[in-house]
């Protein structure tokens, strides 16, 4: 059976429905979300410049490009790209999860893992928790619906109100640590999935994944830490 040939215009169906293609979807959507996470983390650091600076950064995000572009252009574009990415990523993850379940319905009586990292073991349930967290996070800090400061508050006061609540702070810390582990394995896995790894690079890709995930999550965690320790209020 020949499925690709030079005269063929469309990509063959077998190439777009297989497990490796789903991994490409997961890798590309994961990287798009990751790029957003970098920008989001840097943006959050405005909190250290005080309430006025933080709120005007938030305002800028809604008005950037005006009057040439309609209001909320940047945010709308980001929202669409991220929504599509989250859905595509979860679709691929769930379908591969089911495939893996079907592949070994009966487990071993005794199984010892040799090299599996904790991060790689928590990708699936960790991902589910991250997805739930994203929903909570938007209801909390974007809409204020579940925020102690309520819906008609400034972004800055919502942020401070959340992190002055120990339960909300714990939720954020746990979710961020899980996200960090997801990215620690995800960055390595995406490098493999996109065919960019080899025996020589294996060590450095993994070292980069650890360093990157740690730095990114530390960048997020300094904000709740600053509120908890009273540096920001």
């Amino acid at each position: 059976m020949t499925v690709t040939d030079s005269a063929q215009r469309r990509t063959p169906k077998a190439a777009k429905t297989n497990s490796v293609f789903k991994k490409f979807v997961m890798a590309i959507s994961g990287i798009l979300m990751l790029l957003f996470l970098i920008a989001h983390m840097i943006g959050n650091l405005h909190v250290f410049q005080g309430a006025a600076s933080f709120n005007s950064y938030s305002e800028w995000l809604r008005t950037v490009g005006e009057p040439a572009l309609p209001p909320r252009t940047l945010l709308t574009v980001i929202e669409i790209v991220l929504s599509v990415s989250v859905l595509a990523h979860m679709w691929a993850a769930i379908s591969l999860w089911r495939q893996a379940k079907r592949a070994r319905p009966e487990g071993y009586v005794t199984k010892k893992s040799v090299v599996q990292t904790y991060a790689s073991r928590t990708m699936r349930w960790g991902g589910v928790i991250i997805a739930l967290f994203i929903v909570y996070h938007i209801l909390d800090l974007t809409f204020g619906a579940v925020n102690p400061a309520g819906t008609d508050s400034t972004p800055y006061s919502r942020l401070v109100a959340s992190f002055q609540n120990p339960i909300a702070t714990t939720v954020y810390v746990v979710a961020l640590v899980l996200l960090g582990m997801h990215l620690r394995h995800g960055i390595w896995s995406a490098t493999q999935t996109l065919g960019q790894s080899n025996r020589r690079r294996q060590k450095s890709v993994n070292a980069f994944a650890i360093a990157f995930a740690t730095l990114l999550i530390a960048g997020y965690l300094v904000v709740p830490a600053a509120v908890v320790f009273g540096l920001v209020d």
């Binding site: 059976m1 020949t2 499925v3 690709t4 030079s6 005269a7 063929q8 215009r9 469309r10 990509t11 063959p12 077998a14 190439a15 777009k16 429905t17 297989n18 497990s19 490796v20 293609f21 789903k22 991994k23 490409f24 591969l96 495939q99 893996a100 079907r102 592949a103 070994r104 319905p105 009966e106 487990g107 071993y108 009586v109 005794t110 199984k111 010892k112 893992s113 040799v114 090299v115 599996q116 990292t117 790689s120 073991r121 990708m123 394995h185 390595w188 896995s189 490098t191 493999q192 999935t193 996109l194 065919g195 960019q196 790894s197 080899n198 025996r199 294996q202």
Partner: protein
């Protein structure tokens, strides 16, 4: 050495199996794991019991028939085949759990023997080249870079034992398929079918019911031939190439 063995006994694919405990004594540390099982089987036959079914052929680490799960590790604690594993890797008085490979595409035939023909069908889907056969051509007529021939040879050492599937938490056959795709894709003779090969072999491994790869690395750490995760990256790269080739405009 005296050992306690807990071995998976299953009469045939239709019945449920279970772990059964046996004792063996006077095992020499120089015996291979399979020779130890031979001792057990002789004992079982003497007692009028059914001997434990397990696969084996060459007993020198080249045929890939002999894999079993030993204490939760594919081929046991050493990175070698079960037939090349020696009893000196265990201590007197140890309890050893022995189970068959577990994956739905590898159904248990009996006890420790599983049906690995799914691998043959993956090979049939693309693990070949269509070069004219006959007498060996002059070696210098087709040049291969040293680093490519070395990497192709490393990948070609895969013996199709299935340890990668057995060890993988997703029961994925990626390392096996990737070894074949890498081996043929690095050589000039493998080029004409390169795009078809990767697409068809991956489609076949999915159709057989293997899981997808999540780059955990248990496969490479359990492979008796040291096939590396690099081959999986190469397979992924080839599939991306095939997608691009398929999307080429009509000429």
């Amino acid at each position: 050495m005296n050992l306690t063995l807990r071995i998976w006994r299953q009469k045939d694919p239709s019945v449920k199996g279970k772990m059964v405990t046996y004792k063996v004594s006077d095992i020499s540390p120089d015996m291979s794991f399979l020779e130890m099982l031979d001792v057990l089987n002789e004992q079982l036959i003497m007692d009028g019991d059914d001997p434990v079914a397990f696969d084996h052929d060459c007993r020198e680490g080249i045929c890939g028939m002999c894999g079993v799960m030993i204490n939760g590790q594919a081929h046991g604690p050493q990175q070698t085949t079960t037939c090349q594993l020696h009893m000196r890797s265990f201590k007197d008085g140890d309890t050893i759990d022995v189970e068959p490979w577990r994956a739905s595409p590898f159904p248990v035939i009996k006890d420790l023997a599983v049906d690995r023909r799914a691998f043959d069908r993956i090979i049939q889907a693309g693990g070949y080249i269509s070069a004219p056969t006959g007498t060996a051509p002059e070696a210098h007529s087709m040049l291969v870079a040293k680093k490519d021939s070395d990497a192709a040879f490393d990948a070609a050492t895969c013996i199709g034992c299935g340890a990668c599937v057995a060890a993988c938490p997703n029961a994925s056959s990626m390392l096996f398929t990737a070894a074949k795709v890498t081996h043929l894709g690095l050589l000039p003779q493998g080029q004409p079918e390169r795009n078809d090969r990767v697409i068809n072999m991956v489609a076949q491994q999915d159709a057989e019911g293997f899981g997808g790869c999540t780059n955990i690395g248990e496969c490479a750490a359990s492979c008796p031939k040291g096939i590396s995760m690099e081959t999986i990256s190469r397979l992924n790269h080839d599939l991306l190439g095939a997608l691009r080739a398929g999307a080429r405009p009509k000429s």
